[in-house]
């Protein structure tokens, strides 16, 4: 049987490294477009200040980009080091988008990012602008392919099990590519990244304005961030809704858990805005509910029902029964590939094989499972309701707050009153961590909400682990925690140093003019 300590440690390590990686990725995704916009203005107007903006934010982008690249390699490696059975079981499908990501996107962004920094003097204005846009395109395409891979974990379309190779194999790559979950996730995730990028520029510019430093540069940056941020914040919420709709189609349990919807309700279901989900009692205490809203979000209709957790557990029991039949047929087929009856039985039940595999955490042979085992396995399909319930609500609250904040910034910017309201600048400054909080919560809702599945309905997470020892994982986990903590400290220290030094103190762009540092600072700003 699978060692559950190994499973827990592997999951913890994956979660920590993924959440850490996801601190840097959204900022890269958003900031790169802001660089592209600023440089475009520079090329169109020829005004030096826009070039300096691009270069200043570019330095901060570079620090963050290095961390994103470094921690991203961990993710690709970890499927092999710690999730070897997962890699074998779904590599035929899951590996393809990762490889295409490398070929089509990561090469593009990484090859040109060097020229972004080193090419200012070697390329024409337009040539350098093209390079910046290619970096932006590459990093966003990279997100697309990663999310196509991730969407397949949430909604595994276009594949079937091959008993001769004991793994899932591609049937239709078109289905994998045009997975509706992938599209919703992509737009939602990159928009969230744009909000992170916009907030980064907004907050730091607000800090300069509060200090009265780099005023001209900070005001322009703030204006760009406000418009870009407002559009992105709106897009996150609208397309988050689209994402909710696609989730309701294929991950009913995840949605029911997010809503702490213990029982199926008469359509259209109410949305619980507040409450304390109680897992033991399967009820939500002190629930404050808004009628109709959930049904509208989840089904985009007023007459389609959304199943509750109890009903879904009941359904899971039936699927486990069919999964046991599929498992039994699979055993016969492996002993005798020409067994016609077994082939028919497997064909009829193979969609639920994954549910049969859920039993492997309790028994060595699913065909010998008792009703209690089956009931326990069915109950294990419920994710952690309170965590999902609260993560989702905090994320959504952040989302609406961003619309308000960027809306206010946009309004002030369009009335040219950005510098006049110190309370607003302080608010913008202190809001800096929030989009990161929202992004991490989004990851938790999507991935922790997928449990107990690695591949929804196909492969239980516990089965995906490598056959490595507890000591090996404990060592690597401790190593990651230590090493990542040191890196985080250095990263934040450098960002602070460069922000504090500011565009006026950096001196990157003075070399060519040959002007004295003081003269350049005086002439260039304010």
């Amino acid at each position: 049987m699978i060692d559950s300590t190994v499973v827990d440690l592997s999951r913890l390590q994956f979660a920590i490294t993924a959440l850490y990686h996801f601190l840097f990725v959204p900022l890269t995704l958003g900031l790169v477009w802001l660089l592209a916009i600023m440089e475009t203005v520079y090329v169109m107007t020829g005004r030096e200040i826009w070039k300096r903006m691009t270069q200043f934010w570019g330095v901060l982008f570079g620090i963050n980009f290095a961390m994103g690249v470094a921690t991203g390699i961990t993710m690709e490696f970890q499927f092999g080091t710690n999730w070897a059975y997962y890699a074998h079981y779904v590599g035929d499908i899951f590996g393809t988008p990762l490889a295409i990501e490398g070929l089509m996107a990561f090469f593009l962004e990484s090859t040109f990012v060097g020229l972004f920094f080193f090419g200012w003097d070697r390329l024409s204005k337009v040539g350098h602008l093209v390079v910046t846009w290619l970096v932006a395109l590459g990093s966003n395409l990279s997100a697309l392919w990663i999310l196509i891979a991730n969407a397949w974990m949430q909604y595994p379309v276009g594949a079937r099990f091959n008993f001769r190779t004991m793994r899932m194999e591609v049937e239709s790559f078109t289905d994998v590519l045009f997975n509706p979950v992938a599209q919703a996730k992509f737009v939602h995730t990159v928009s969230a990244g744009y909000v992170v990028g916009a907030m980064f520029v907004l907050s730091i510019s607000a800090w300069y304005l509060l200090r009265g430093r780099n005023v001209a540069l900070a005001k322009r940056s703030l204006t760009v961030a406000a418009s870009f941020g407002l559009a992105s914040a709106l897009s996150v919420v609208v397309l988050g809704d689209e994402s909710g709709y696609t989730v309701s189609e294929n991950q009913k349990m995840k949605l029911a858990a997010i809503e702490a919807m213990w029982h199926t309700e008469e359509p259209p279901a109410a949305f619980t805005i507040f409450g304390f989900p109680d897992v033991a009692e399967r009820t939500t205490h002190l629930a404050v509910r808004i009628p109709y809203v959930m049904g509208l979000i989840g089904t985009h209709s007023i007459d389609r029902a959304m199943p509750g957790i109890e009903e879904l557990v009941h359904e899971a029991e039936h699927r486990i029964d069919r999964g046991i039949a599929a498992y039994a047929a699979l055993q016969k087929l492996r002993a005798n590939p020409d067994d016609h009856d077994a082939a028919l039985s497997f064909e009829a039940n193979s969609d639920d094989l994954g549910y049969g595999l859920l039993l492997l955490r309790r028994v060595d042979d699913p065909t010998k499972a008792t009703r209690e085992d089956i009931a326990a396995a069915a109950a294990s399909t419920i994710p952690n309701v309170p965590v999902l319930f609260w993560s989702f609500r905090l994320m959504v609250a952040c989302g609406f707050y961003f619309i308000a904040l960027f809306g206010a910034a946009f309004w002030l910017a369009s009335r040219r009153q950005l510098g006049d309201h110190r309370w607003f600048l302080r608010l913008a400054l202190y809001s800096l961590p929030l989009p990161w909080v929202a992004s991490e919560l989004g990851w938790i809702v999507a991935e922790y909400g997928r449990q107990p599945w690695a591949i929804e309905g196909i492969l239980p997470t516990a089965l995906g682990v490598s056959s490595v020892s507890r000591v090996q994982i404990a060592t690597s986990l401790a190593g990651f925690v230590f090493f990542y903590t040191v890196l985080a400290i250095v990263d934040v220290a450098l960002l602070r140093k460069y922000i504090k030094r500011g565009p006026d103190g950096l001196g990157l762009w003075r070399q060519k003019t040959g002007a004295l540092p003081g003269a350049a600072a005086a002439a260039g700003d304010d």
Partner: protein, 384 residues
């Protein structure tokens, strides 16, 4: 798109093509990222003061990021085309892979952070990490390849779950360690050749002198490893009829140990040709560099890498990862791949995108052409 190629090539052909493509990506990685790994290891060996060290770093700083994608692509391609090999090697070589990972995480950070704080100790620390991150992967890649020739302690149960009965220390056997040294020497020669091509003449001269010492050493180590392989190591072979178009399940064949790798491999002759190319190219490299043909020297140094990688691949063929516990469970080209459809699709994608990648990578190298002069480095702060 993929469907067309999957219909056009039969399964054995696609597997053979993907085996070659894995070699292409590995060679692409070793040539491009190889020079910055090697040069990174030499920053403090060849650079006597901070300006000189920055000069060496600036020879590869604008391009290393793209170079490293060859490695990421290698990981992705092995995952997609050889999922069994990806799962077995990454989990089996657990700590070795994590050490490589540690090195690869340190690199981008070291390069970006090094010049952001003016303290000699800060810079020395990052330079040290840069050297570590150049030496360790070079060594480990060789050690891993060396272990493949001896077989690794892996076995499968009948659900194809792999267990690996060994650890990091088990990898450090004499023959693999020798191969590790071959790999390290090779990439350091390559790094020195790159510095000779791109750095200020003062530093380039030192790099040439170093390459002149290390290239013969590499050849010596490589020949030693080759002789050891010929006379001291038992090969693996597939018994009975070799099924090349069967399902990817390593439990369906018979295999055993016996004879030598070169005699067993149908590509044994090719392995010898590749080895000859590697040795001649290695010895030609310092000679060309001394005559001022720095670019030609870099080409022969690249040939040395291609020859070395190919000789190992040819000698192992058709084995990918032999099992020392039960030769029957070894992974081979014929039973460790993705489905025919996936191989066809991935081939279409590679044929479409790889030429584009090579085209724009060449353009970026062209933009960054010329030597990085000490004078330029003294005049300008770091661009990062």
């Amino acid at each position: 798109m993929g469907a067309a190629l999957h219909a056009f090539f039969d399964y054995p052909t696609l597997r053979a093509i993907w085996w070659l493509l894995m070699g292409v990506v590995l060679i692409g990685f070793a040539i491009t990222d190889g020079f910055d790994l090697g040069a990174g290891a030499l920053v403090r060996v060849l650079g006597r003061d901070d300006d000189e060290r920055r000069t060496i770093i600036e020879t590869f700083e604008p391009v290393w990021e793209g170079n490293q994608v060859w490695f990421i692509l290698g990981g992705g391609a092995v995952f997609a085309a050889w999922p069994l090999l990806y799962a077995a090697s990454f989990s089996g070589f657990y700590f070795a892979i994590l050490l490589v990972l540690l090195a690869l995480i340190v690199r981008p950070v070291a390069l970006n952070f090094r010049n952001k704080h003016d303290d000699p100790r800060w810079k020395a620390a990052w330079d040290g990490l840069l050297a570590f991150s150049g030496v360790v992967p070079s060594l480990i890649f060789g050690v891993a390849i060396g272990n493949l020739f001896l077989g690794v302690p892996l076995r499968y149960d009948d659900t194809l779950r792999m267990t690996y009965e060994g650890g990091l220390v088990g990898l450090l056997r004499p023959f693999p360690l020798l191969v590790g040294l071959v790999s390290l020497a090779m990439l350091v020669v390559h790094g020195a050749t790159w510095i000779a091509l791109k750095a200020d003449e003062v530093i380039a001269a030192r790099a040439r002198a170093l390459a002149a010492k290390l290239a013969p050493l590499y050849a010596l180590l490589y020949i030693g490893a080759g002789l050891w392989l010929l006379y001291g190591i038992t090969g693996f072979r597939i018994d009975g009829r070799v099924v090349t178009d069967g399902p990817s399940n390593p439990l369906l064949k018979q295999a055993s140990t016996g004879g030598t790798w070169l005699a067993n491999s149908v590509l044994g002759t090719w392995a010898c040709v590749a080895a000859a190319v590697a040795i001649v190219a290695a010895l030609a490299t310092p000679l060309l560099a001394r005559r001022g043909a720095a670019l030609a020297a870099f080409v022969t140094s690249s040939l040395m890498i291609a020859g070395t990688v190919l000789s190992a691949g040819f000698a192992l063929f058709p084995f990918l990862m032999p099992s020392s516990l039960d030769p029957r469970m070894s992974l081979t080209v014929w039973d460790a791949s993705s489905s025919q459809f996936t191989l066809g699709l991935m081939l279409a994608m590679t044929l479409l995108f790889l030429p584009i990648v090579i085209a724009y990578t060449s353009w970026v190298f062209h933009v960054m052409r010329g030597r990085v002069s000490l004078e330029h480095v003294r005049r300008t702060p770091s661009s990062y």
